[in-house]
């Protein structure tokens, strides 16, 4: 299956006349093989993400059939588990691939943050509960909560971005607003009990079901775009150098700009706990770690137990020291994220000399360095990518 048809080509192509082929090198990995392995791994990860969400859907149904604090805890754990594989795909961003291309903007519909909570359900401000806001509590605006109904409602305001759907909408419906300085939201299970103390439990259940269906729908479309026979994947595997550029671009930008600056840096800067993804569940660090591990695996061509030809093989052939340095940096970022004391909202508070903020700053530095090193690694195999500001 992994027969290397272009075994000796890379020596000629990659070395650019500067380096000879070292004779002790075992069969060199071809660029084609790396791109094919990348798309196969990504397809597998999206397929697992769909399966995760379908499994989660079953748990949601079980919860809705008998909402208790115990079953709520179970379904919350299930939500955290349901994102395990999706997080590993996030390095495949920022090259207008199937996850990003807009329209339909699957990424925005799956993972948008912040969330328009008051568009969905009751919400509090400054200790005052506004229980009549949100679609759930406004039957006049949408008598029956269906996917089509929600789409139409979003359509009327002409906005392509939908911040009332996706993973974090489900998170909000399970945990509720995180109103304390630290820790998760405290939505009671009785929010879903018919005849219980909360208004509109049936509509809340409908919204939760529709939101989960939406996630399955969007994940499925992304997965199918990476099917071996899908036109996007066929084209991706044909234009090897362009695709390698995309892959490096995604890894670099996701490392430095998105995971670093946007997701961690913005919260570090604002010191506001609500500038973090997974604010409702207070499990943001779990996401960051999964993301960082996903980046490393994408670089090395690994997925789960599978270890295929990776970008690292190409970089190593061109510049072994650079490959070693990059791998070290990728691991350093993972370690730096693990070193941030949980929960994240406590870590961002305090002054810059606090243990939490120093740990976050270290993670930011590590992610920034790894992003820049991806740029150098791409250059080492003759590709040009934009990591950030190119002349700095």
């Amino acid at each position: 299956m992994r027969v290397n048809a272009r075994k000796f080509l890379p020596c000629v192509v990659l070395a650019g006349g500067l380096l000879g082929c070292s004779s002790d090198e075992t069969a060199a990995v071809s660029r084609d093989a790396v791109v094919k392995n990348y798309s196969a791994n990504l397809y597998a990860a999206y397929a697992d993400s769909v399966d995760d969400e379908v499994a989660f859907q079953t748990d949601v149904e079980a919860f809705l059939a008998a909402p208790t604090e115990k079953s709520l805890k179970t379904v919350r754990d299930s939500w955290l588990a349901s994102r395990a594989h999706y997080m590993l795909t996030e390095g495949a961003r920022f090259y207008d691939g199937p996850i990003d291309v807009d329209p339909p903007n699957h990424e925005g519909l799956l993972n948008a943050w912040p969330l328009d909570e008051a568009f969905i359900d009751y919400a509090s401000k400054d200790g005052v509960l506004h229980e009549d806001v949100g679609i759930i509590n406004m039957p006049d605006v949408l008598p029956e909560i269906t996917a089509e109904g929600l789409d139409a409602l979003n359509g009327t305001d002409g906005e392509p971005e939908n911040v009332s759907a996706g993973y974090h909408a489900v998170e909000f419906l399970l945990w509720g607003q995180a109103l304390n300085a630290s820790g998760p939201g405290e939505r009671p299970a009785t929010d879903y009990v018919i005849g219980g103390p909360s208004k509109n439990p049936d509509r809340r259940a409908d919204y939760l079901k529709v939101a989960v269906e939406g996630i399955i729908l969007h994940l499925t479309e992304v997965r199918d775009a990476w099917k071996p026979t899908a036109s996007y994947r066929v084209g991706f595997e044909k234009n090897t150098d362009e695709s390698l550029t995309h892959i490096f671009t995604g890894l670099a930008k996701f490392s430095k700009g998105e995971l670093g600056s946007e997701r961690i840096g913005a919260a570090y800067e604002s010191k506001n706990r609500h500038d973090q993804h997974n604010c409702f569940s207070s499990q943001t660090l779990l996401d960051y770690e999964r993301d960082a591990r996903g980046i490393l695996a994408m670089y090395t061509g690994n997925y789960g137990e599978h270890d295929g030809p990776g970008l690292d093989d190409l970089v190593k052939a061109a510049d072994p020291a650079l490959d070693a340095d990059l791998k070290k940096k990728l691991q350093a970022s993972i370690d730096a994220i693990i070193a941030i004391p949980a929960p994240f909202e406590d870590a961002i508070a305090g002054d810059d000399d606090s243990a939490g903020r120093k740990a976050i700053q270290a993670a930011l530095n590590a992610l920034s360095a790894q992003g820049d090193t991806f740029g150098k690694a791409a250059a080492a195999i003759g590709l040009t990518i934009t990591v950030d500001d190119p002349e700095e």
């Binding site: 912040p114 328009d116 568009f119 806001v133 971005e161 609500h274 500038d275 190119p390």
Partner: protein, 462 residues
């Protein structure tokens, strides 16, 4: 990298010009690739507009990064857990700055469903406001907000239809311009006042604003002059500065109706997204909009955009670098620039300005090539919005900068130009010019096809 590249260019220039003469066989000297001086980026990809200027201090770099994040984030309805990002609306045009300024550029005027999106409609009625600016409609205020948060209807729905206007170049080659007609229906708060004036405007790209802000006032005013042989004469706009509480020179916006990037930013936050700030503390609901006035505010406690966030976005708006000019040795493009000057385009689209002191190293004392004089010009009845804006008449528009425009298609996947995005590319934009731009347009229209192509190639290189 820039420094190295330019020294190579100087060598090329020196050898190219060694003949000394300007005979047609001599290659033209290369153009300056540093359109924004030190604040130039060599990025020419689809991300070309989103780079920071160089030599930021650590504090400035983190402000830039935070500002970028805020610029791209969607605001949400209050109340929300993200209490620093709530307070959308009640009425609004967009949830995020980047909705209309996608990738720090300019969004297409329509969204995927064909609805008008990257477009704003300024409203006013005859007369002037106390600050000397446009007189807002008593019910709808000074701009149309088609969207509202859940349960609060937007102002109304804008529509556009286009009529094709055929024309010919002097050599007989045909072209067609699309003439827009705008209407607004579904007014949700009753009919607007008699004499309502509507001015359609697209969100421009936000590159190089810090440089334009750092151009000393004297340098801008030095270009004010009586009509020349072509009838060209720029005039300044004088507008209200809410921070300084004074009337000052305007330099931003399609009518130069904003005095500073900070005021432009605060104005867009409150007007377009419904986010109040230290500079504009009140939502724009008018007294008769009952639900709008009752909506839950995201203010925390005084206004919705924290001062820290406001200053970060404000700095971000000043710190986006200008893409370097491309094809700097391309003889056709260089010839195109000579024609740009010869035709009279450069009378208003001034190639070179200079910046004065600034808090950011890359913005201070730079020689820049924005291709604007930042002044108002009468552009004739065809482009007129017939809506005065401070000193600007209904026929006057500010010369828009042209830098970076050659990358518009790459960054934003469209080539719509002019204040209301009616032009489908550079040629149509030129052909719409009237008033003071009439002679330049006619020079272009009557030029040989090869000259027109050269001129367009020059514009594409910006």
């Amino acid at each position: 990298m820039i420094r190295r590249a330019s020294s190579i260019l100087i060598l090329i220039a020196a050898s190219a010009c060694s003949g000394g003469g300007a005979s047609t066989s001599d290659p033209l000297p290369p153009a300056d690739l540093k359109s924004g001086g030190l604040a130039t980026t060599l990025d020419d990809t689809s991300q070309a507009y989103r780079n920071s200027i160089r030599a930021l201090s650590e504090d400035q770099a983190s402000q830039f990064s935070f500002g970028h994040s805020l610029f791209n984030r969607a605001w949400v309805t209050a109340p929300a857990t993200t209490d620093n990002l709530d307070g959308l609306g009640p009425l609004f045009n967009a949830r995020a700055c980047a909705t209309c300024h996608a990738k720090d550029g300019r969004s297409a005027p329509f969204n995927a469903s064909g609805e008008l999106l990257g477009m704003l409609f300024r409203l006013s009625v005859p007369g002037t406001a106390d600050n000397g600016g446009p007189n807002p409609d008593p019910v709808y205020g000074d701009q149309l907000r088609p969207l509202g948060i859940l349960g609060i209807p937007g102002d109304g729905t804008p529509h556009v239809t286009y009529e094709e206007l055929p024309g010919n170049y002097a050599d007989g080659t045909a072209f067609s311009l699309q003439k827009p007609s705008y209407s607004i229906d579904g007014w949700n708060y009753g009919e607007p006042s008699e004499g309502l004036m509507i001015s359609p405007r697209t969100g421009p790209s936000v590159i190089g604003l810090g440089l334009l802000e750092a151009v000393p006032e004297e340098e801008i005013l030095a270009n004010v002059h009586p009509p020349d042989a072509d009838g060209v004469h720029g005039v300044p706009n004088y507008v209200w500065d809410a921070e300084r509480q004074a009337t000052v020179l305007g330099r931003f916006g399609w009518k130069a109706n904003q005095p500073s990037t900070l005021q432009q930013t605060a104005g867009a936050f409150v007007g377009d997204i419904g986010i109040t700030s230290a500079l504009f503390r009140h939502e724009t609901c008018t007294p008769s909009m009952i639900a709008c006035n009752r909506a839950i505010s995201g203010a925390d406690p005084d206004f919705e955009l924290s001062d820290q966030a406001f200053h970060a976005v404000g700095f971000y708006m000043r710190a986006l670098a200008v893409p370097a000019r491309r094809a700097v040795t391309d003889q056709v493009a260089l010839q195109g620039e000579l024609l740009f000057t010869k035709f009279g385009c450069a009378s208003c689209h001034k190639s070179t300005l200079h910046t004065g002191p600034s808090d950011a190293e890359a913005l201070a004392n730079q020689t820049i090539h924005p291709y604007t004089d930042l002044l108002l010009h009468d552009m004739g009845p065809e482009l007129a919005d017939d809506r005065p804006d401070f000193q600007a008449t209904g026929r006057q528009w500010r010369t828009p900068p042209l830098w970076g425009l050659g990358l518009l298609a790459k960054v934003n996947q469209h080539s719509f130009m002019l204040h209301d995005a009616r032009a489908r590319g550079f040629a149509e934009a030129i052909l719409w010019h009237g008033g003071e731009g009439t002679n330049a347009r006619e020079n272009f229209r009557s030029a040989a096809a090869s000259e027109r192509d050269a001129l367009l190639k020059f514009l594409e290189s910006l």
